[in-house]
């Protein structure tokens, strides 16, 4: 389950933010902001992806780098939240 989520997340990041550049060595723990992979509009694209793909309603308090700033963090967040209610 975790592997599948991570694969999906990574595929989305590579396709949408790295434009299919598979030569980019994207470590699971690499910061998406510090590595200039994502900007403020990109965060909203990422939120839309998570909500659409995994059926998670994300509250404002969820949209923080601690949950979303790497493939590993995003995957862990989704895994923990699948089926759980959104925070305020």
């Amino acid at each position: 389950m975790t592997e599948t989520i991570k694969d999906k997340v990574k595929a989305f990041v590579i396709e949408n933010f790295l434009f299919g550049d598979t030569s980019y060595d994207l470590a699971d723990t690499a910061s998406l902001i510090e590595n200039d992979i994502i900007d403020s509009t990109g965060v909203l694209e990422l939120v839309a992806f998570i909500e659409d793909q995994f059926g998670i309603a994300m509250g404002d308090a969820d949209i923080v780098p601690a949950n979303l700033d790497s493939v590993a963090r995003i995957s862990a967040f989704i895994e923990a939240r699948v089926g759980a209610p959104a925070t305020a």
């Binding site: 434009f19 299919g20 550049d21 510090e34 900007d39 403020s40 509009t41 965060v43 949209i63 601690a66």
Partner: protein, 645 residues
């Protein structure tokens, strides 16, 4: 204001070449042209007649025939200089400012530059000394490019004139491309063209006896941070500012043709137009560009100001498709790849001015650099404020206030805001502190560079290159002054005054004049304490104080609205033009060898499918498209960029 070209050295069939050079920049000077050929030197000139309509033809020689000049621009204090020179017994044959430069050079040699208040670039052929002198104004309003080919020095107002020299072909400089995709513009003297250089603002070149020397004759300088402020009384400072700005505007109204004014609806052009209105007894013409999209349009403010001043106002609407339709011409005139579409509406605006019969306009450019108006100055202050309490959840909310127009930013948490702006990440003593987030977010566009280009540029860092060119005193300046220097010395001449300024105006034979860039005003502003310029988060405080009686409160108290234009979405959607599809096609991208064709295709599809694009995607789209157009225009798509130097 005009265009010129020339050479110093041996050139076969010189007259033919000079005629071709001047024909390539005929848009700069549609009124007259002329050619001068001497042994070992030649000059050519395309004239836009503004001062001395009947007797200012160029190239112009002095009485003896020993000195000959080709000149682009205006010397605004030529009346005072001529009076001075006459008092010393000099006799004038014309009423032009051009002849004033000749006399002054004859008296003072290159030291004459210190006496000139103007926007100029010129070449003086000194037959007696067998030397060619080139010079450019202090802030970089007027362009001047040069190259050496076959042992001969060639120079011109635009690069397209230099491309007329037999044996010279255009090659894109990959370092310049890296600089554009990081800093928005090449770092002068580098241009987009390999082996073609730009004479830097406030520099002169002397070529004689086989040797070329280039040196600055003026420098933008700020006081030591710890030094006592030179101007501490705000009321007196405001009075002095007002007097200087009034005189700067007054001498910029000098012309033998009507002078109009741009009117964006913002503070700066409103101040200029208000001042000019009182100096134009026949009434002032004002000109604006409007947009369909609410986020870009300022027409309500433009109309309010025009009504308040009683100007005869004209506006051109930048509608869906206009930017895309004009963009190939915009790139041809800009002569470089650009990452924003903002020059395109200004191209439309100068056409409106010309169609309405004017050829000179005042603009408010320069006030944001001189009096700290840009958001980037406030952003740096907020970043420092956040950096002092890195864990604060309250302080980063200030970033929202700075950028209400950036899509997505308003919805972000404090943590994300702090992360996006690198609050606390950039060392406070970094000389590029103020500009690091901008350079970093712009450089993210280089993800679209091809593997080959990335390999060639692997050891190059544009931001560090820029940092290495800062003056020794830079580290001792106040952080606001450091940020102002970066804007004024690099982005202002490199992008604002060129790609958005001279090139778009002169495409239609229109001369822009910039009261805020009068060097007396620039020097005065450097001596102001930072708190008089950026007071808290209120930009251009002292300028507002000095001019508050000129403007309606709704204009005078307006927060800076950056001039922007729709970017990638100008090229996608209904009515998409064939040239865009062609230039961005996988085949064309692969042919150029500069970008990753598959990644660009995905970018193109993303911009087509999403209603809003972020900064990186917008800048990348416009940057890639303009680079493709540059290659088509100047080299043909099959030609690859030069190897990285």
């Amino acid at each position: 204001m005009c265009g010129f070209g020339g050479y110093f050295g041996a050139v076969p069939e010189a007259k033919i070449l000079l005629e071709r050079m001047v024909a390539a920049i005929a848009h700069r000077g549609p009124d007259e042209n002329g050619v001068f050929v001497d042994e070992g030197a030649g000059l050519a000139h395309a004239r836009l007649s503004i001062v001395g309509l009947g007797d200012g033809q160029q190239p112009m020689s002095d009485e003896t025939g020993e000195l000959t000049i080709a000149f682009n621009g205006e010397i605004f204090n030529y009346v005072e200089l001529r009076k001075e020179l006459r008092a010393k017994g000099r006799r004038f044959r014309t009423s032009s400012d051009t002849e004033v430069i000749l006399h002054l050079y004859d008296v003072m040699g290159e030291e004459c530059l210190a006496r000139l208040n103007g926007d100029f670039s010129f070449a003086i052929w000194d037959r007696r000394r067998q030397r060619m002198m080139l010079a450019r104004d202090r802030m970089g309003v007027r362009p001047l490019f040069y190259m050496t080919h076959g042992g001969t020095l060639y120079f011109a107002s635009e690069i397209k004139a230099l491309l007329q020299v037999p044996g010279v072909s255009a090659e894109l400089d990959p370092i310049a491309l890296d600089q554009i995709f990081t800093l928005w513009a090449p770092i002068a003297p580098r241009t987009g063209f390999r082996d073609i250089h730009e004479l830097e603002p406030a520099h002169l070149m002397i070529a004689e006896r086989g040797k070329v020397t280039i040196r600055p004759y003026w420098q933008l300088d700020y006081p030591e941070r710890e030094a006592s402020p030179l101007l501490t009384d705000e009321r007196r400072a405001a009075e002095e500012l007002r007097a200087l700005l009034t005189d700067a505007t007054r001498i910029r109204m000098r012309a033998d043709v009507p002078v109009g004014s741009y009117l964006s609806g913002g503070l700066d052009s409103s101040i200029v137009a208000a001042m000019a209105t009182g100096m134009a007894p026949q009434g002032l013409r004002t000109f604006s560009v409007t947009f369909e999209s609410v986020e870009h349009d300022e027409s309500a403010f433009q109309m309010e100001m025009a009504t308040a001043l009683g100007t005869h106002h004209s506006a051109v609407a930048c509608r869906a498709g206009d930017i895309a339709r004009s963009f190939p011409e915009v790139v041809r005139f800009a002569e470089r790849p650009i990452i924003r579409t903002a020059p395109a509406p200004l191209y439309q605006l100068s056409r409106l001015v010309r169609d309405e019969g004017l050829k000179v306009v005042l603009t408010g450019e320069g006030a944001d650099e001189v009096f700290a108006g840009y958001d980037i100055f406030k952003e740096a202050r907020v970043r420092r404020f956040c950096g002092r309490q890195p864990g604060s959840r309250i302080r980063p909310h200030l970033f929202r206030k700075l950028y209400p127009y950036i899509p997505g930013l308003q919805q972000q948490s404090a943590e994300y805001l702090a992360a996006f702006f690198g609050a606390g990440d950039v060392p406070l003593n970094d000389p590029l502190f103020s500009h690091r987030p901008r350079f970093k977010s712009t450089a993210a566009t280089k993800i679209f560079f091809s593997g080959d280009l990335r390999t060639r540029l692997s050891n190059y860092d544009a931001a560090e290159d820029l940092a290495s060119r800062l003056p020794a005193a830079f580290g001792g300046w106040h952080p606001l002054h450091q940020a102002q220097y970066l804007e004024s010395r690099f982005l202002l001449p490199g992008y604002i005054l060129s790609s958005q300024g001279d090139r778009m105006a002169m495409a239609h034979g229109v001369e822009g004049r910039f009261p805020f860039l009068d060097h007396r005003l620039v020097e005065f502003a450097t001596r102001l304490p930072p708190r008089m310029k950026l007071k808290g988060l209120v930009e251009k405080h002292i300028l507002r104080e000095a001019t508050k009686d000129l403007l309606p409160p709704s204009i005078g108290q307006r927060t800076k609205q950056p001039y922007r234009a729709p970017d990638s979405h100008s090229f996608t959607g209904a009515g998409e033009l064939d040239y865009v599809r062609d230039a961005m096609s996988e085949t064309r991208i692969s042919d150029s060898g500069l970008f990753n064709a598959k990644a660009v295709t995905k970018l193109y599809e993303k911009c087509q499918s999403q209603p809003v694009s972020g900064f990186r995607d917008n800048a990348a789209f416009v940057g890639v498209l303009s680079t493709q157009l540059w290659l088509q225009t100047f080299t043909g798509t099959s030609v690859r960029a030069a190897e990285a130097a």
